[in-house]
Symmetry: C2
Subunit: 455 residues, 2 copies
């Protein structure tokens, strides 16, 4: 039974080089100039899946970026695992903050530095290598299907349609995903909750051109001042979201579950130090773990308007724009929240400006029951490789498709992630510890063994 | 006595071509890449002043951009007029909104379109041409000095020092300035009040890098949300500025003066239409004329932070920045206001972020008494050229140096401006009616005649 670790050990270098090939393709889904890189990344994944031993692999069209589908069927009576991942990545800007080029992976202090090193090329590719390991060692006990999409970072806009069209093809007993994190390097973690998401772009227009702030200032509404007031009105002094009806569907979590949640290891001083802030700030009455785990949030992701160049330009700007996202919790419907926000924003905007609210994307929150057979199999795999039981964790992040899988394909997902908070995903200098890459491959390979037994 | 209008008529085309030469130099003082253009513009002014007939003209150093000084002394017993203007201009962005290139002047519908067409190359250059007209027609009755600076748009930071160093050289009986506007093309206007100014750049820093808005959102202060709250807190629901002590030194204007002020022609519907807004917004209890004339204002001139690219990037930004200006009224001290804002901004900022307030520049407000001999001379000059008396007006704009002239040189200023609200100064498609250019030259030439009589 040491075949698994032996095979990984023997192929260490090649596994890493192949991952680097994938990372070098700047597959940024939110920027249309990278359209061609999306296809290149998909084709590269297909190539690696065929080399790993898939019966077939295809780059399949969707309404947007293509999906890579691959499969290996070992027997019609065997259970089937559907691997989900994504080959697209976040934009790399601000580029000047990167210590090495974002699409030229570099290893420093045992970590791979690159955009996508963790999210989700590093984590997604572990599944290709675990799959190869089991095929090449004749140890694959179940059927495996791969569905690797190219639009996760822009809300998986085409994946629901893809799932609906290919229900039969995607038939499976469990979806296995590595796109989440661990509490710490030595604390294996299974994510049992994900937040939902709603994302908007709002625009406030005042005068039809920038005005002289002296001649008009005080008499004409300033769109930046107005947008600031509108954003400020969305939360109250307790950092509670002030949109009417926003919390109506939020499930209250029992005192007991909150206690359990707060007993997980968490060092607030360490946490503050890791992001260099002196104080934390969040909803009154909740701990940091609760604020990201079981409570919704309201964040401006970007804002711009008026003059941002050198020196002082005395204008009253014509326009101000912001990108705003809200993380949601189980039972909140993202479509309803999208509507509530839009109504409130428009309602409280003064008539002295025109406002435009554009809903960009969203998705539902998710909860995974810890008595699921797949959960138990994952638990054993972690115990085998890490020597200890994993901790079930509610993450603040969102993977909107997870609820789509449940609704459309009728199948639960199990989220075994190997990332760390310090991986800086979505930020400059994203990184992923090399050791996590190899341990992840090993854990996934063991998951299949226990899952086959359990099922 | 028709010599003046004849000379102008005969040289119409050349006057305009010379102005265009000046406009083509992109002398944007707030952008350091235009350092060389500042000198080029100054040298060009010097050349034109010598050609016009100045005894001497020099480009003189200051702590910043140089000042063009020129003079024509007709007799030591004669009164002396000091012309003030500026050769620097505002940045031209957003460039995409210009219908013709900002530094390639173009005449459309009787208007010169270009950055600086009005502010202040168009208006400043009228003085050079009025000066030439009187010299060439042997009609210059007084001594004339020119002081044309290159930092007006960045707060005239070096001019106070220049005035202090060259008090004797700049000795004069009145400062004459054309850098303001008329109520309408057929309503000559003398600006008797200017607002003061204070300008800051503020920066709010949260975490030391952009964070994933899912993993951290709700637990860590978002600098854009915080900056929005801080900006929102600077004004109340009546658009009254909420900074403690802000109004302490504001002089109350008598009911009678307010009545007089509000009797000046003002068409609110026309005003709203001209900037394409449906409603005006300003301090409760004051009319639009009062809001820009006798009341202070608080405007964000620019804001930026986080992601502003295509699509949806789900981050909690590390930083948010804003440029903020406040227009002040007579008796408010800009240094005191600068301090009050900084203290309040820092006081109300939560400890979850770091804030930085950088004071960029400012200046005092100004009032000109309407019984000044120079005011009377200007009144007669307008009556001569326009056939009617000018209206004394309090402008919302600021020319901070005007109070410097009073304090350092001990001399009052008279502001005869020929711009229109529709000139879009500081905005894309700045323009200046050609007829205003010529009528301005004529009015200025007549001013000298009446000023010599009156004095």
């Amino acid at each position: 039974m040491e075949k698994i670790s032996n095979y990984i050990e023997k192929n260490r270098e090649r596994f890493l080089n192949e991952l680097f090939e994938l990372i070098r393709i700047p597959s940024i889904s939110t920027q249309s100039e990278h359209k061609n890189d999306m296809r290149r990344a998909a084709e590269q994944y297909k190539k690696f899946l065929l080399q790993a031993g898939a019966d077939k692999a295809e780059v399949m069209p969707t309404a947007g970026n293509p999906v890579v589908y691959a499969e290996k069927i070992v027997g019609s009576s065997k259970p089937t695992v559907l691997i989900y991942g994504h080959y697209d990545v976040m934009p790399a800007d601000p580029l000047e903050l990167w210590k090495s080029p974002p699409f030229e992976p570099e290893i420093r202090d045992g970590k791979i530095y690159a955009r996508g090193a963790d999210d989700d090329k590093g984590q997604g590719f572990m599944h290709v290598k675990a799959f190869e390991t089991l095929i090449r060692t004749n140890m694959l006990p179940v059927n495996v299907k791969f569905m690797i999409e190219g639009e996760e970072e822009i809300g998986s806009v085409s994946l629901e349609g893809f799932c609906q069209t290919h229900k039969e093809l995607l038939k499976s007993d469990i979806v296995l995903v590595s796109d989440t994190g661990m509490i710490a390097s030595d604390i294996p973690t299974i994510t049992v909750g994900l937040r939902g998401l709603a994302y908007w772009q709002v625009e406030v227009t005042g005068p039809d051109r920038d005005l002289h702030s002296g001649l008009y200032g005080g008499a004409v509404a300033n769109p930046v001042n107005v947008l600031s007031k509108l954003i400020a009105s969305m939360t109250d002094e307790n950092n509670h979201i002030a949109i009417p009806g926003f919390y109506d569907d939020v499930l209250n979590v029992s005192e007991k579950e909150r206690e359990l949640m707060n007993s997980a290891p968490f060092d607030e001083e360490e946490y503050k130090k890791s992001i260099n802030v002196e104080e934390l700030q969040g909803e009154k009455g909740y701990t940091t773990t609760e604020r990201t785990g079981i409570r919704p949030s309201f964040d401006v992701c970007g804002i711009w308007g008026g003059y941002s160049g050198e020196g002082a330009k005395t204008i009253l700007p014509s326009k101000a724009t912001a990108k705003i996202s809200s993380r949601l919790v189980p039972n909140q419907d993202y479509r309803k929240i999208a509507q509530l926000f839009e109504s409130y924003f428009k309602e409280i905007a003064p008539k002295s400006v025109k406002v435009n609210v554009k809903y960009l994307h969203g998705g539902q929150a998710y909860v995974c029951p810890i008595n699921l057979p797949a959960y138990k199999a994952a638990e054993k795999a972690f115990q085998k490789v890490y020597g200890k039981l994993p901790i079930p964790k509610r993450s603040g992040g969102s993977i909107p498709v997870i609820s789509t899988f449940e609704n459309v394909l009728g199948v639960k997902s199990i989220l075994i992630g190997f990332g760390l908070d310090s991986d800086s995903i979505h930020s400059p200098n994203e990184n992923y510890p090399v050791s996590h890459f190899y341990k992840g491959i090993e854990t996934i390979a063991w998951f299949y063994q226990y899952f086959a037994e359990k099922f």
